[in-house]
């Protein structure tokens, strides 16, 4: 039994290493891209909303970055999810190993990139004369776990179902874009009109992204969004795992 767990861990390590290595293998700037991408987005939104539309907010650049970095983790993982089983068809058809490890390593790998990008957030805090707070020590691990659970859950759903319903590939991209604008990332939740405010917690990503931002900007963790996002995380994980379990024995048939 013990050697089995050891093998699981080794599988996760090896597959994550592979993803990390492959991702930037033949690009010159390598890891910098995982920062460059959200930074470029932040730049675009900064021009559109701060300079052109003149949103009334202080430190808007910092605000954008604190929300875009964790979002980037979620959307990167979900957008590649439809392909993770398809891309490993030859393995799935031959080797009997726990297939859910593949999407897990994808999410893990994006999480590592997110962690590596936190220093950029710190840099921006300093630019705006703020500083990191001690609450990060427990806040970051806590939110990391919640987002890992939630992203892994959604990733399992998308990657499993896509084998049987290939249209999901296109839908996934549309949905992540839609949810990006439904989630208070480029705008604060306080700007949402009163009559729509009650909808905000129907979006599983909202309480999580709000928590990240308040942790990064103010060093605070509000209990209500924290509890809601944790609940969403657990539900997404359980639901995703259930779907995966129902479908996984047929993976080798349809690939």
């Amino acid at each position: 039994m013990n050697s089995r767990i050891q093998h699981y861990i080794d599988l996760i390590i090896v597959l994550t290493q592979k993803e990390m290595k492959v991702r930037y293998k033949s690009s010159f700037f390598g890891y910098l891209w995982s920062i460059g991408h959200p930074l470029a987005f932040a730049f675009v939104f900064f021009i559109a909303f701060k300079i052109v539309m003149k949103i009334q907010m202080e430190a808007y650049a910092l605000f954008l970055i604190a929300g875009l970095f964790p979002w980037q983790w979620f959307s990167n993982s979900i957008n590649v999810s439809p392909m993770v089983f398809l891309g490993n068809a030859s393995l799935i058809k031959k080797v009997n190993f726990p297939r859910n490890i593949i999407p897990f390593t994808i999410v893990l790998q994006d999480m590592i990139h997110f962690i590596l990008s936190i220093p950029v957030i710190v840099l921006f805090l300093f630019i705006y004369h703020k500083s990191p707070s001690f609450s990060w020590l427990y806040g970051i691990p806590l939110l990391l776990i919640i987002q890992l659970l939630m992203t892994y859950g959604f990733s399992l759903m998308v990657s499993s179902v896509n084998l049987f319903f290939r249209d999901l590939e296109r839908l996934t991209n549309i949905f992540t874009t839609l949810f990006f604008y439904f989630t208070p990332i480029i705008y604060p939740e306080t700007m949402i009109p009163e009559k729509y405010k009650s909808f905000i917690n129907l979006n599983p990503l909202s309480p999580l992204m709000i928590s990240w931002r308040s942790l990064f900007l103010n060093g605070t963790l509000e209990p209500i969004p924290l509890v809601i996002s944790f609940t969403y995380g657990v539900v997404a994980f359980m639901f995703g795992y259930l779907i995966y379990k129902r479908l996984s024995w047929r993976f080798a048939e349809v690939l």
């Binding site: 093998h7 090896v14 031959k94 009997n96 993976f251 080798a252």
Partner: protein, 244 residues
Amino acid sequence: MSEPVIIFDNVSKSYPLYHHITGGIKNFLLHLPKAVSSIKNSRFEALCNISFEVYKGETLGIIGRNGAGKSTTLGLIAGVLKPNKGRIIVKGRISPLLELGGGFHPELTGRENIMLNGVLLGLTRAGVKKKMNMIIEFSEIGDFVDQPIRTYSSGMLARLGFSVVSSLDPEILLIDEILAVGDMEFQKKCLDKMMGFKKSGVTMVFVSHSMEDVKMICDRAMWIENHSIRMAGTPKDVVLNYSG
């Protein structure tokens, strides 16, 4: 012969034909009742009531035309497919031999791929590290081992793949049409290695189109045609009937 380690008991396997939906939503909705019933009823019969046993230490060769159900049989043994009917019992650690480059990533170096493949096939990281030099030596690819494998020739890929498998310590080895690649010398080396496995008591299931290899390696052969067993017996007899 000792106890059986692979038992197929009246096994049937059929695949639903999913392509009926891929005609598009318009077609699907226009012919809804017909489409639904065709999804329900159209199944592709890959294996039909197959029963056989493989004994410990035995080498079984499976021959037959393309699409006869040979790879499905291997998939069922490996446990990646489930039978629709019947019972399959497999006792022991299974090592599948991957097809050319399967499970390799073209951007990674030979060394990194050995690690990846070794762990996927059931070794621990420490185990692969210990065997790394042996594997590289067996593969004879020399300095190329630190190059990304997209630069490899197909023969080199086959060597690398087989070298990883040769370092495993399997109880049951599944081989699907692998010896066809690589140069003569390496093919001979692979055959030697397989003979070595055989001597040390590894059970092997060997799918091949090379009748020479089947005659040379296998203790018993099975001919699958039209999704059921046409004939089973000594490799010589089965090959003779199959070829004639």
